[in-house]
Amino acid sequence: MRTFLYQRAREPNEAAQLAAAANPPSARSRNKVEYLAGGTTLTDLMKLDVAQPDVIIDINPLTETGHGRIELSQRGLRLGALVRMAEAADHPGVKSQYPVVAQSLSQAASQQLRNMASLGGNVLQRTRCTYFRDVSYSECNKRNPGSGCAALTGFNRPHAVLGGSDQCIATYPGDFAQALIALEAAVEIAGRSGSRTILFANLHRKPGDTPDQETSLRPGEIITSFLIPAAPWTRRSLYLKVRDRQSYEFALASAAVALDQQDGIVRTARIALGGLATVPWRAVEAEAFLRGKSVNEQNAAAAASAAFVGAKGHGYNDFKIELGKRTLIRALQQAAALEL
């Protein structure tokens, strides 16, 4: 591992200040700055030499501030970015009122990792693409812009069938993000010049021609919390994850589903897909199809087809299109049948 400058932020404002100080306007070259929370992605990637930060700002001391709190109110759910995955997954209010959130967290990683990993870090976790994680492969546009994409013609079984480009088809690996995008969550972001709030859907960027630019965060900005609005569909929600082994594995295909039904008819459907796309993926076409219909087998299948109209396989991952549809069909039927 390369060495780095280590600093600790103890006050909420201090993190962005330290980040700004790491790159004074007079500096000739830019220092790479990373915030460190659970470290489950960053430390791993530093050992692999994929991440090469010059400066690490340890934000764990801020866990004892509002950044580490879960707040449930009539308006919705606020999750501090330094809440650990396990805390949110086990929170009784989250489990009962936002089951898709709790399930997406409890089905991810292992309990040791969930005890460590923060929610803010979780949504920013990097892809598991082998060609990205192994620096002995020279081609990776995400790690080394302009070098090519070895996955397009290589072993691409875990790769994305939605949202890819001819530069990158690396899958976004997270689960929690699918719950956030389905429930139209917002993200609070702090920077040196104040804070701003954006839709979670606008946080991640599709690879396009710049796969190395994964988010809309500006240099030095830090996620401080997630806001999930209360809505009639949050209780009838679930996360279905299909993977190569039953536990402690990334999704081959997953679906986050939330439904507002009356007399068996869908008023609102919220759907996101995981393990299948380059970014957290909301299936708006499937949502629109289901409005005003019942979730029977035929309608669920038609909604799933609508969700995958633009899907593209790359050989080894062709099966994920069918697997993704079946995952969504099952998730929709299970959500519709939930007894509340």
Binding site: M1, R2, T3, F4, L5, Y6, Q7, R8, R10, L36, G38, G39, T40, T43, D44, K47, L48, D58, N60, A86, D90, A109, S110, Q111, Q112, L113, N115, M116, Q246, S247, Y248
Partner: protein
């Protein structure tokens, strides 16, 4: 240093040199308690250390003993335990957070020491496999692993036991399905999984009894 007493299976403090320390020759004397707990709590609030290349001083508690050591900023908690403090019970498996062999408790919560930078354990309470026995009496989870033959080669066992203690304390060991799910972060290539589930169930009952006494 610890060793297992061959006759009783008890984990005992070791006074003489063992194979590892003879081979290494450089195991530091850092196992000696250095500062009091109160001073250490204070240290957690004090200004952050910064370093680029230079060793940095950290203070932490390991198995109820205070330690003050200078480490390279890149040192993982796992390497601090094994290579600097001679606490080799915690095992290095994958070193990338995928196998669970390095599981320890920090402030009572099970975490992976291979993905924890030692510097971030500043001021924390770390419990390793060497710290769970009580005055030579095995922890109920250690005894249960022996009773149920919950291992073959034993390499994953310290991590399994630390994880299982965490699992019971979290309340995630109430049934077989939960034990399997919440112990999934600990891989056992000998596939002793059914016996591990049985061991966790026995220890769960004893740990509950102990906590209500």
């Amino acid at each position: 240093m610890t060793r297992r007493d061959q006759s009783s299976g008890t984990i005992m403090p070791q006074s003489g040199p063992d194979r590892r320390s003879v081979l290494m020759g450089t195991v530091s004397s850092a196992a000696a308690p250095v500062i009091a707990r109160a001073a250490q709590t204070e240290a957690r609030r004090v200004a952050p250390s910064t370093s680029s290349g230079k060793p940095v001083d950290i203070a932490l508690t390991i198995n109820d003993r205070a330690h003050n050591v200078a480490v390279d900023i890149r040192t993982s908690l796992l390497d601090l335990l094994r290579e600097r403090l001679g606490l080799t019970g915690t095992k290095k498996g994958c070193d990338h957070g995928q196998c669970g062999a390095c599981t320890v408790l920090i402030d009572g919560r099970r975490v992976l020491s291979c993905l924890t930078l030692a510097v971030t354990a500043q001021g924390r309470n770390v419990t390793t496999i060497e710290g769970v026995a009580n005055d030579g009496e095995l922890h109920p989870m250690q005894q249960a692993f022996i009773d149920y033959d919950a291992f073959q080669c034993g390499y994953c066992t310290p991590g399994q036991i630390m994880s299982a203690i965490g699992c019971v304390n979290e309340g995630h060991a109430e049934n077989d399905a939960d034990i399997r799910e919440y112990m999934s972060g600990n891989l056992c290539r000998c596939a002793a999984y059914p016996n591990i589930v049985d061991a966790v169930k026995q220890a769960r009952a004893q740990m509950k009894t102990a906590s209500t006494q």
